[in-house]
């Protein structure tokens, strides 16, 4: 059970990333396409739509289809009926020209396929969180390394800076930054990364302080290795494992923060919607069409859960003494 969980989590994340990258190749619909804003509006999960095949230009959706005696069909769209002559229909028999497209997760208020939108949202959400977590870990490692190596005033200043950043609730700080710089994709990455480096800084600093006293580091120093060589060749690799754990946790955390920010409309701006944007979209029709807001949240929760499970497994590898 415990052994299988990280594997399961890694498998899920890989599959999700693959789907996000290869979306169109998997036969998913275009996430931005609005084939029919009237008929396909707010279809619940597992629904089939009714449509007839037209000559040349694809499908005509309808709420109800009636085959007429002369070979034409009558379509009911909303409250009005329209007639399509036999000449513009593709397929000779009534069976051949009828299609019933299937929407696994239903559609949103514009008739867009929710599954494609969630898979497409994964691309934005995962990319933003990954980059932001990477930035946070890099910044934190730099600050922690500097603090641990130089000590004294540098250490004091950097650690006070860490305390100050930790004193401002993350979301308020993010809101302030967005208010000042305006929402954008790159901005979201920068802002999330620049406000999440503190834990990594503390982790790296603590590691450096303990590693500096080790024999092998002293030996390297005694044999005349330069300061930079000791730092990057001997100290930083020693801190890599806890840093990786911290990076994983940060990734999960950033994913949640990004979704909050996007939900508030202050994260990744449309038209490339992240999962938070999707939930925000569905909020207004929550009571009428519950699936639009709830299903992207399932994707967030599952992903964060998987990343946390991975982080947990990594942590157990790195710190075997953690009580289980």
């Amino acid at each position: 059970m415990t052994r299988r969980r990280p594997l399961l989590a890694a498998g899920f994340l890989l599959a999700l990333s693959a789907a996000a990258l290869l979306g169109p190749l998997l036969g998913l619909r275009d996430p931005a396409a609005q084939p029919d804003g009237l008929v396909l509006r707010d279809l619940p999960p597992f629904s089939r739509a009714e449509a007839v095949r037209l000559v040349g230009e694809g499908l005509r959706y309808a709420d109800e289809i009636r085959d007429e005696a002369d070979g034409s069909v009558s379509l009911r769209r909303g409250v009005s009926w329209e007639r399509i002559p036999a000449a513009s229909l593709a397929g000779a028999t009534p069976e051949a020209r009828r299609v019933r497209p299937f929407f696994v997760l239903g559609t949103d208020g514009y008739g867009r396929d929710l599954l494609s939108r969630i898979v497409n949202g994964a691309r934005v959400s995962l990319l933003v969180s990954l980059l932001a977590a990477g930035l946070a870990v890099t910044l934190g490692a730099g600050a922690g390394l500097a603090a641990g190596l130089f000590g004294g005033v540098v250490d004091g200043l950097l650690m006070r800076l860490t305390d100050v950043f930790l004193s401002v609730p993350r979301l308020f700080l993010l809101l302030l930054l967005v208010a000042l710089y305006g929402p954008s994709l790159a901005g979201t990455v920068l802002v999330l990364g620049a406000t999440s480096w503190m834990a990594a800084a503390r982790v790296v600093r603590a590691e450096i302080l303990s590693l500096r006293e080790r024999e092998y580091v002293r030996a390297a120093e005694a044999s005349g290795a330069s300061r930079a060589r000791v730092a990057f060749l001997h100290l930083l690799p020693g801190a890599a494992a806890p840093l990786l754990v911290e990076g994983t946790i940060r990734f999960a955390n950033t994913l949640l923060l990004e979704s909050s920010l996007s939900f508030l409309g202050l994260g990744v701006p449309p038209p490339s919607p992240s999962w938070g944007n999707l939930i925000a979209d569905g909020r207004d029709s929550l009571l009428g069409a519950w699936w639009i807001a709830t299903l992207p949240g399932v994707a967030i929760a599952a992903t964060v859960l998987a990343v946390n499970a991975l982080g947990e497994a990594l942590r157990e590898k790195v710190e075997p003494r953690v009580a289980r």
Binding site: V168, P169, L171, F172, S260, L264, L286, G297, L305
Partner: protein, 329 residues
Amino acid sequence: MAWLVARRLLAAIPLLFGVLTLVFVLVESAPGDPSGVLLGERPVPPEVRARIVEAYGLDRPPVERYLRWLGAVTLRGELGWSVSRARPVTRAIGDALPSTLLLAGAALLIYVIAGTGIGVAAARWRGRWPDRALGGASLVLFSMPVFWIGLLAILALSSGLGWFPPGSTHSVGADAWPPVRRTADLLWHLALPAGILGLTSAAALSRFVRSEMLAALGEEFVRAASARGASGRRVLFGHALCNSLLPAVTLVGMSVPVLVSGSLVTEVVFAWPGMGRLAYDAILARDLPVVLATTLLSSVLVIAGNLAADLVLAAVDPRIRAGQGGGAR
């Protein structure tokens, strides 16, 4: 003890100045003309802009502006004028703060009770089904965005079952009700947002309490108590829990920023008229002084929370009072 309180209070002051400086640097480094930031993006006649530049000293060097601003905020409590609410920022915040304190306070209470309770229960039944069920449930809850759980709760518990109101702090017409009924109405409106905010954050605390409890249960003095024939309950609560709670106090203090951040989205989801909602509305209205003030005040809450945790620790842990450190292992 008084000496310790004074020392901790003094230590919080540089932190406050740090936050003020950070906010100032962020605003200064933002693109665009600071008077534009102050005025929003409204078209303003040049002479008005000049007056504003003059009044706020925007033509002065940054250091002078920094000192002036610092003086205005800390000495006179001046936070500026809120354009969107058409009142001083201090008044706008004063109107919103009680709601936030109520929400965050109730959430903190639920957080502590649920976190400790779940942690103790998990440790008590270690490895058996309650441990695994509680551990799994808190992990899942921990992985969900707060605003999304809020939406689900509104969907299921308010509009579905009708048990709770979907938002706001009071029912329509509650002003005219007698105090008892009004309080009950307030608690009824508070239950969902505070419960969700508290429970989603409780996972971290419960896991911490669980591992502390397990560590404590393995220690000599606890095993000695069992060996002396103390009842299971007494060992669990009297010996193990008391010693696990000490480090947990620090964690509770550290979780204040999480609760304050969480209250922001919770307030937006549940239309709760607090500080987070104020900050959010201010951003949409490009009302920067309010955003600045809420950021500062939320940091004050965090610093106060950490301070309170420190003082609670000092009050219950004689080692800290004696100045030996310890406690927070």
